[in-house]
């Protein structure tokens, strides 16, 4: 028995497509503890959303459209083996999810109060009246002014930030142990984003829940995550604490990502770092290291053999053959470069 809240072991998610089977998530392992925020970073198509949807079994499993391998252990249960009936009890109750697009995730023909109450009535033995009170409390908790009026409004009457708050209220209404947030602030403006991030941080402390925070924004990761996994083409290439990830990234892909964003304290009008080439498609996954074709350190070994996950420290893991040599060659400079630019 593990003591982690959620432990994913060698998870593989396969999709049936016209061109044959595609493996969108290919053997990933990670864990989330209570009270921590795990960031999942990667570019579009790297499998970060599929990972979260696999955990909640939201993908279409009929006719073998989606098949899984591996284990997702949640409190002694393997979520990949439970029945759909049992899964429905877990969803929204013990594990809930916030989606990226609040505009389209709320049902336009029901009032927001109705939608929050639906979750509460489904999972908790409450009357309609009590559920309504609870919905009002939840909305108040997320900082929506005059919640007793707002619950009678329809999603189109609310702004983007408000809708995202409704989504959060809905997701948290049953006090989940694990919250999966799939790009919850991507569609929002920075000032609203910072309000929502603060709110999530406060609620995490209050509820002592684990959060899996999926994003492509490294700034947001630095802001609210405790640990981070970096995904590339369906695999985890690096896992580290936030501090390690930004101070001493080990995988060339992570380094590339960090270097390619314009820094707020970096030099202006300088050429930004570009990761050459493009992400290969899932239909044509490279044999060796998946990043080899775009990596400036790649050798024949990288092209031929898939690297295992090395443990640099118990908390810092990397899937790269040459991370040690690269670290010796330029690792020290990476940290230096960033601190000198930061002092400008």
């Amino acid at each position: 028995m593990s003591e982690h809240l959620l432990e994913v072991n060698q998870l593989k998610t396969h999709f049936k497509t016209e061109t044959g089977q595609v493996t969108a998530v290919d053997g990933i392992s990670f864990h989330i503890d209570e009270g921590e925020t795990l960031g999942v970073v990667g570019e579009s198509g790297c499998g970060k959303s599929v990972t979260s949807e696999s955990i909640l079994r939201l993908l279409n499993e009929r006719k073998g459209n989606t098949t899984y391998e591996g284990e997702i252990n949640y409190r002694g249960k393997d979520l990949l083996n439970v029945s759909m009936k049992e899964m429905r009890k877990i969803r929204g109750n013990e594990i809930s999810m916030i989606f990226q697009d609040a505009m389209s995730s709320l049902n336009p023909v029901y009032t927001v109060g109705n939608q929050i109450m639906e979750t509460i009535i489904l999972h908790q033995n409450l009357s309609k009246k009590e559920a309504e009170q609870k919905a009002i409390d939840m909305l108040a908790l997320t900082g929506i002014p005059s919640p007793e009026k707002r619950i009678h409004e329809y999603p189109h009457e609310l702004s983007g930030g408000m809708k995202q708050r409704v989504m959060i209220a809905q997701a948290l209404s049953c006090r989940p142990n694990l919250l999966i947030a799939d790009e919850p602030t991507t569609a929002l403006d920075v000032t609203i984003q910072s309000q929502i991030l603060d709110l999530m941080e406060d609620l995490k402390k209050e509820y002592d829940m684990g959060i899996m925070f999926i994003t492509h924004d490294l700034g947001v990761v630095a802001e609210i995550c405790t640990r981070v996994i970096v995904m590339y083409l369906g695999q985890i290439v690096e896992e580290a604490t936030v501090k390690d990830l930004f101070d001493q990234p080990l995988h060339p892909y992570t380094k590339g990502l960090i270097k390619s964003i314009p820094q707020l304290d970096g030099e202006r009008k300088k050429d930004l770092f570009v990761i050459k080439g493009k992400v290969p498609t899932l239909n044509d996954v490279p044999k060796g290291c998946r990043f080899a074709s775009r990596c400036s350190f790649s050798t024949d070994k990288c092209v031929e053999e898939e690297p295992p996950t090395f443990e640099h420290t118990p908390e810092h893991k990397v899937k790269c053959w040459h991370y040690k040599e690269i670290l010796e060659k330029e690792g020290a400079d990476f940290g230096k470069e960033r601190t000198t630019t930061a002092s400008h």
């Binding site: 930030g161 403006d189 000032t191 630095a222 802001e223 570009v274």
Partner: protein, 335 residues
């Protein structure tokens, strides 16, 4: 920058969209752009930043007269182009081009890339068909495409490539000015850096002036020479990029800058929390539009619209914290 003639001067530009009731009578207006003024100098990158709904995209479109301005002047090379008839406008559009945000919906899916890029040449009657093909091929080559991609359709390209095609389409007429409307916000970070680098290279090579519209402040800081911060249809602060980032004057600019998440876990920033959300542009607050969310709001802010003042060299701020009237009130409350 030494004083010189601006390439483009926008004065008190307004765009109000009418809202009609069910009988077709105008009952109100959405004041998307509500009196903005700024200058663009040759060879510079001027950025308009702001949150969604602040009118920055409408401003860009109105300058090109893709939507007709309600009021105001757009002076290009000494002439007000708002008065131009369609034929004169056609000539001006050669010089002013636009690059759009969404690389997926801004290219016609049924046309080949070559056809899309040749269309502007055709419209302006430049060259014979064969020569046009050569011009397009040259440009594609310059932007890193292979010759055979001339015959491809948009769906065969990735987001970053499409955005390069969008840039090629803007460049094909050899313009002086390109209005870039959120050109990188739909792209992944690694692709975003490619496009940003390309935009800078091309700027030097073609001697371009950019009006760069974006909500992403780190991108703006990277690429902009000067920036204008928009809030609810108005520009609240303009100035050189470095100056604004180091010493923002307007409370909204301060809050906006403090809200950017920094990819540096060691730096705990002091956030200026803004309460509430942007008011509706249908019925913007009286006086200073920001007073409903401003932590320093005074009585005068509710009554009078602050004038645009040069607080530091080339840094203009519209805020009562810096006006005489505001200073008077501060004194009174202190006393």
């Amino acid at each position: 920058m030494e004083k010189k003639e601006p390439l483009l001067q926008v004065t008190n530009l307004k765009k109000h969209f009418p809202i009609k009731n069910s009988f077709g009578f105008t009952k109100n207006h959405v004041k998307a752009v509500d009196g903005i003024s700024f200058e663009l100098y040759e060879g510079e990158t001027f950025c308009l930043v702001g949150e969604s709904g602040c009118g920055k995209s409408t401003a860009g479109r109105t300058i090109l007269r893709l939507t007709e301005p309600t009021e105001g002047e757009v002076i290009y090379e000494g002439k007000n182009i708002v008065d131009y008839n369609p034929k004169e406008m056609l000539n001006i559009r050669k010089k002013m081009q636009m690059m759009f945000q969404d690389p997926f919906s801004s290219l016609n899916p049924r046309k080949r890339i070559g056809t899309i890029l040749e269309e502007p040449l055709d419209i302006h009657g430049i060259g014979k068909p064969k020569e046009r093909t050569d011009i397009v091929m040259d440009l594609l080559n310059r932007l890193g495409f292979q010759a055979d991609q001339y015959y491809r359709y948009p769906y065969e390209f990735s987001g970053g490539q499409r955005q390069r095609i969008g840039l090629a389409r803007a460049l094909i007429m050899n313009p002086d000015l390109i209005i870039c409307d959120e050109p990188v916000s739909a792209l992944d970070v690694s692709i975003q850096s490619q496009i940003l680098n390309l935009l800078r290279e091309i700027q030097d090579e073609f001697n371009l002036t950019y009006l760069f519209i974006s909500h992403d402040l780190s991108v703006v800081r990277h690429i902009g020479d000067r920036i204008g911060v928009m809030y609810l249809g108005k520009i609240v602060e303009t100035g050189p990029t470095d100056q604004i980032f180091q010493d923002p004057k307007h409370p909204y600019t301060k809050a906006l800058l403090s809200a950017i998440p920094s990819p540096n876990p060691h730096r705990k920033r002091e956030r200026i929390e803004l309460n509430g959300e942007i008011p509706s542009p249908i019925d913007p607050p009286t006086g200073c539009a920001f007073h409903t969310r401003c932590p320093f709001a005074m009585d005068i802010c509710k009554k009078e619209t602050p004038k645009n003042l040069e607080v530091e060299s080339e840094q203009f701020v519209a805020c009562h914290l810096y006006t005489e009237e505001g200073a008077k009130e501060k004194e009174m409350t202190n006393a």
